[in-house]
């Protein structure tokens, strides 16, 4: 709660064109925003530019921030919109299950990965080869620790869709792990 208060103080100061406050905001949120964006756009240079655009948009629109959500959620919402529109603009293919294996696993198929790696590492790699849509929601829930309402706001989807999308992302993850020889007994 204290961090949220501090964040809102920073946004107020940014609305007053205080660059030091923007630096502080960068210090707090830049890495998380960058990681979120990179897991969508998959290219470091693109992710860095999109991240810069997120904070520039925050700089320009700080005055219209209404504190209905946390600053972190607000920034991730901007980041999601920017990342998705960047993908569309560049006509890049998002990583999906069919194409990801060759990129994410250094040429190994899931079974080989499972033999070479421990379960945790295998799971990390399977998460990496989920569709962008599924990986994004898993990141938001598990890494960014966003609530159902916050995920709904960031992705601009209904609450029930948040729940079902997360459910099917987890199911897909279990299927990928099963294909890699790791049976979790679910679903």
């Amino acid at each position: 709660m204290q961090d949220q208060t501090d964040d809102r103080t920073l946004i107020t100061r940014i609305a007053g064109q205080d660059q030091a406050a923007l630096r502080a905001l960068l210090g707090r949120h830049q890495l998380r925003v960058y990681r979120f964006v990179l897991r969508i756009v998959r290219r470091e240079a693109v992710a860095e530019e999109v991240t810069n655009e997120v904070f520039l948009e925050a700089w320009r629109n700080a005055g219209s921030y209404e504190a209905r959500s946390s600053v972190g959620t607000w920034l991730l919402s901007i980041a999601h919109n920017r990342a998705v529109s960047t993908l569309r603009r560049r006509r890049e293919e998002t990583i999906d299950e069919e194409s990801a294996g060759a990129i994410a696993d250094d040429g190994d198929d899931p079974e080989v990965v499972a033999q070479k790696l421990d379960k945790a590492e295998a799971m990390r790699r399977c998460i990496a080869v989920l569709s962008a849509e599924h990986r994004t929601i898993i990141d938001l829930v598990y890494y960014h620790e966003k609530s159902i309402n916050e995920v709904s706001e960031i992705l601009n989807i209904p609450l029930n869709t948040v729940k079902t999308r997360m459910f099917y992302a987890r199911k897909k993850l279990s299927e990928l792990l099963a294909a890699a020889g790791i049976d979790r007994g679910w679903p």
Partner: protein, 222 residues
């Protein structure tokens, strides 16, 4: 809808809520609903372990991303205004603590890092002072007048909840600088960046004391 269908539906609904139950992000009503279900269906508890594994792997995947960001100066140049230039010395402070906030670690680890960050912070302040206030020329601490200016004016203890960013901003607002610490009792020595009048000193220290959310105690040292 049959009883079995209803049971499956309820089970699926609970399953859908479990990730947020594990991360502690469910509201009170849904939390109670999940816990009631778990009491009557202990087999569902196995899901909690699976979700914990998924969360651990997700965090590891994210934390494996360790970029070295280019200087923020290029970004800030796109936002520059004349009034902001005068405040740019704060950037050194915030850069010094930036890594602390970037690390999404549990609170205990974050505060362990805070001790190191404060040392960096003090060093950055000292270097920043020499560079910005002395026109970048080299000065020794024995220069006439420096010792008096460097003398601490107060000892400050911060609350456990205070973030390093909040502390940095408070010190910046009141033109204070950490010069030593942590000392016994968790106090830090501070001094003024400038040379305010006694009345102004009192006003600023009162402003510091008024921030009960950040400051636990202030003891004048002279």
């Amino acid at each position: 809808m049959s009883g079995i269908d209803e049971q499956l539906s309820e089970r699926e609904e609970i399953e859908m809520l479990l990730p947020w139950y594990v991360t502690g992000k469910l509201d009170a009503a849904d939390t109670a609903r999940v816990e009631t279900y778990l009491q009557h269906h202990p087999d569902m508890r196995r899901q909690l372990a699976l979700i914990a594994e998924e969360q651990t792997a997700t965090i590891a995947g994210n934390e494996a991303i360790r970029p070295r960001f280019a200087s923020a100066d290029a970004l800030l140049a796109r936002t520059a205004t004349p009034s902001s230039v005068a405040r740019s010395w704060l950037s050194g402070i915030v850069d010094a603590v930036k890594d602390l906030f970037q690390a999404p670690t549990p609170g205990a680890v974050r505060w362990a890092a805070a001790a190191a960050a404060v040392i960096i912070f003090v060093q950055a302040m000292a270097v920043g002072t020499l560079l910005t206030r002395e026109g970048g020329s080299y000065q020794t601490a024995s220069r006439p007048g420096v010792e008096a200016q460097m003398a601490p004016v107060a000892m400050v203890a911060f609350t456990d909840q205070a973030s390093v960013g909040a502390i940095a901003l408070l010190l910046y607002d009141q033109q204070l600088r950490l010069v030593d610490g942590p000392l016994p009792g968790g106090f830090y020595s501070v001094r003024f960046v400038d040379q305010p009048s006694p009345d102004e000193q009192q006003r600023r220290l009162a402003a510091v004391m008024s921030r009960k959310d950040i400051v636990k105690a202030v003891l004048p040292s002279r």
